[in-house]
């Protein structure tokens, strides 16, 4: 009997301590938010939030082939609220399931919101622990709603589609691929200025080329694709993509695909306005040549390669200059991390410039030097 007593006590204790779980939510009671879009609302202080939520039922139904057709695989919820969390709570009046953010893939912020209220949107993303720092963040051209309403033809899920778009870093250097964690790091390290991904909706697809400029926690303008690539070159972040140059004799174009890039920034001279010099090393393959070279000259000579290297270097240099010029003249914001470089490598000098770096930066002279190396020319001479 005594042994039984012990057993009963154990069972009771287990029932007491192991069963009641306050946080238990069955997985089928959850709605996993994939994308969040934020737009300005015409009422003061209010924003329009869009949540894109994959519908598990439709996805699995479609996969098995039966499908019934016509079922949207992604649902869109829209609400007006003061903050992201407020929006999620608002929805609980309309949706019977828990809105769950752990699997969030991307936050799209409308252009108008980003111009004035970027911090207000970012704050809960940092404060609330349910938002992970692995998701992407982008500013949309026009309203975020258009991005949210895109129905991609490639993938079933918008969130999956948009997230994996950003993994094309090996294919192009014309966009900014940043996870939210990196975004926050840059934002804080740089006094609230950073580049942010740009997203342009276009019916059945989106375009992530180009980038947005954030200055002092406010969105101020765009960089186009070339300028973005230029800045990426400057920061040493290009790991793929191509450069197309006009053939030297005016017969078509030559395509050069990049495999990778290195860069070295150094301070040339201090003075009241510092001067920098930038060495960029790019290596890659020749992907296409004009007809002339292979047909009339029958061979790609080493002088052709040298010439091409030179042309590519010049093209890259001009792209970098475009990006630098835009940042220096139009936006007057140091997204080239020059201040960061001074702070990290020349702390004594930085103390001198720190106070009015914003005025100094537009006048900074940068000496750019690009060196291109062709590694491979493909299977054709």
């Amino acid at each position: 009997m005594k042994r039984h007593k012990k057993l009963i006590i154990c069972a009771l204790a287990a029932a007491l301590f192991l069963s009641g779980c306050w946080d238990m939510v069955e997985i089928d009671r959850r709605l996993f938010v994939g994308l969040i879009g934020v737009d300005l609302c015409d009422k003061p202080n209010l924003f329009t939030f869009h949540f894109s939520i994959p519908i598990a039922r439709e996805i699995t139904g479609g996969e098995s082939g039966g499908g019934g057709g016509g079922g949207e695989s992604v649902g869109l919820l829209t609400t007006e609220a003061y903050s992201l969390i407020d929006a999620a709570r608002n929805l609980s009046l309309r949706v019977n399931r828990d809105i769950y953010f752990e699997h969030l893939r991307m936050v799209v912020i409308g252009e108008d919101v980003a111009r004035e209220h970027l911090q207000d949107i970012l704050n809960p993303l940092m404060r609330q622990t349910e938002f992970n720092r692995r998701c992407r963040i982008a500013i949309s051209e026009g309203s975020a709603e258009k991005v949210m309403k895109v129905t991609p033809w490639v993938e079933r899920l918008k969130a999956e589609y948009m997230e994996t778009l950003y993994s094309s870093k090996k294919m192009s250097g014309k966009f900014v691929g940043m996870e939210m964690g990196d975004f926050f790091r840059n934002l804080y390290a740089n006094n609230g200025s950073t580049l942010i991904s740009k997203i342009t909706p276009n019916g059945t697809e989106v375009n992530i080329g180009g980038s947005g400029v954030i200055k002092n926690f406010k969105f101020v303008g765009w960089l186009n694709e070339e300028e973005t690539q230029g800045v990426n070159f400057f920061l040493g972040k290009v790991s793929g993509g191509d450069i197309v140059v006009k053939d030297i004799e005016g017969e078509g174009t030559e395509t050069f695909t990049m495999l990778g890039q290195k860069r070295r920034l150094s301070l040339k001279s201090a003075g009241p306005v510092p001067e920098f010099s930038l060495q960029v090393y790019v290596h890659g393959n020749i992907a296409s040549t004009p007809h002339r070279i292979t047909y009339h000259e029958a061979k790609l000579e080493s002088k052709d390669i040298e010439r091409l290297e030179e042309l590519v270097s010049k093209e890259i240099e001009s792209q970098i200059l475009k990006g630098v010029k835009k940042l220096q003249d139009d936006y007057k914001v140091d997204l080239l991390n020059l201040g960061d470089y001074l702070r990290k490598y020349k702390p004594a000098l930085w103390k001198m410039y720190e106070a009015d770096w914003e005025d100094i930066f537009p006048n900074v002279k940068i000496d750019i030097n690009v060196k291109t190396t062709v590694k491979n020319i493909g299977a054709m001479l």
Partner: protein, 365 residues
């Protein structure tokens, strides 16, 4: 090898001290050093660790000088019964407070990152019951548990933070040595507080199998703890960025939420981080709680210490449930840390000094 139930071996003592030290610092140290020294923060960890080791020499020497004697006995020999008892009471209060804040912080982090709706009191109670279950068995089982949990804790911590390296930007650690000496000094002092927990050795003195190896024990424990803290700080700085680290309450956990583990299976490591945090917190709480009970036992000369576990229980629970929010807990943590360094470094130093002057020495046991 079977060991005597009352004595702990050198490796056991080492892991027990390491696991007692590793706790809150894992989560908040990056922020604290960033606030004091920006990118020089990681240097503070090294200096702090070194200072803690130097400071602990007094405690070690004291234990070597009076082998096999409890701290209460030592201090009553040197400074008289009255003061010794006063110190004993202070120690008990301090250890109770320390247990409370460790458990409270544990509950807060679990609340924030995992179980949002679970009442904090419930987390506190269940963690305390687990702790009580362990320490009722005495010091040797506690040390043995530490021995078992040590690799379970350390290996994943290393692996986890290593996974953040692809996303890390190590230029965040620059510039080096760019902080004024004054804030470096203040920062190092503050970093020492993150090593709170070394004072448990004070009470463990009579239970050490080899008190002659105590310097070595202390060196390895503080050294390993410093290395782990260093790793956490460097990776956090490189991953989150120094400026952003300053704004986060628990940067040590936030960085885990940036990591995507290779392969799709374990994409997220949050759950692993929470499990490790539970272990770290549990070992620390149990060694504080145990030392608290043992101190009471030494002080009163009672027949056994188990009885005091029950007496301390409501107090620990009460204090743990007391602070209204994280900010208040942080204040309490700070107080405990400062007292801890006073008890762990300044007090033994003072008693040792008096013992040398008064030529008091322990019997050669």
């Amino acid at each position: 090898m079977l060991t005597n139930n009352d004595l702990i071996t050198v490796p056991q003592a080492v892991v027990l001290i390491i696991l007692t030290i590793l706790e809150i610092g894992l989560l908040i140290l990056p922020r604290e050093v960033a606030l004091y020294a920006n990118s020089d923060g990681w240097i503070l960890v090294i200096i702090g660790g070194f200072l803690v080791f130097i400071g602990s020499l007094a405690m070690s020497t004291l234990i070597r000088r009076f082998p096999g004697e409890t701290f209460i006995e030592i201090s009553s020999k040197v400074i008289g019964k009255f003061f010794a008892y006063a110190i004993g009471v202070v120690l008990i209060v301090h250890l109770t407070l320390a247990t409370s804040i460790v458990i409270r912080t544990f509950a807060e982090v679990v609340n924030a990152f995992m179980l949002e709706n679970t009442p904090r009191e419930f987390i506190i109670i269940s963690q305390m019951l687990l702790t009580v279950y362990l320490i009722r068995h005495g010091i040797e089982p506690t040390a043995r548990i530490a021995e078992i949990l040590f690799p379970i804790l350390i290996v994943p911590i290393f692996a986890m933070y290593m996974m953040a390296i692809p996303k890390a930007d190590f230029t965040e650690l620059l510039p080096v040595f760019n902080t004024p000496i004054k804030s470096m000094a203040m920062g190092s002092l503050n970093t020492m507080f993150s090593f709170f927990g070394i004072e448990v050795l004070l009470m463990l003195g009579p239970y050490l199998q080899r008190p002659d190896k105590i310097y070595w024990t202390m060196f390895v424990s503080v050294g390993v703890a410093t290395l782990i803290y260093l790793l956490v700080v460097i990776i956090t700085f490189a991953g989150i960025g120094v400026e952003n680290t300053k704004t986060l309450i628990w940067p040590g956990i936030t960085i885990i939420r940036m990591i995507t583990a290779p392969g799709r299976i374990f994409e997220r490591l949050d759950a692993l981080a929470m499990a490790l945090w539970t272990i770290a917190s549990f070992t620390t709480a149990s060694s504080f709680y145990l030392t608290g009970a043992i101190t009471s036992y030494h002080l009163t000369g009672a027949r056994e210490f188990k009885f005091f576990i029950a007496i301390l229980f409501p107090w620990i629970y009460f204090i743990a449930a007391l602070p209204p929010n994280v900010i208040a807990t942080e204040t309490l943590i700070y107080v405990v840390k400062v007292v801890s360094m006073i008890l762990g470094i300044a007090l033994p130093f003072f008693i040792l000094l008096l013992a040398i002057i008064l030529k008091k020495k322990g019997g050669t046991a």
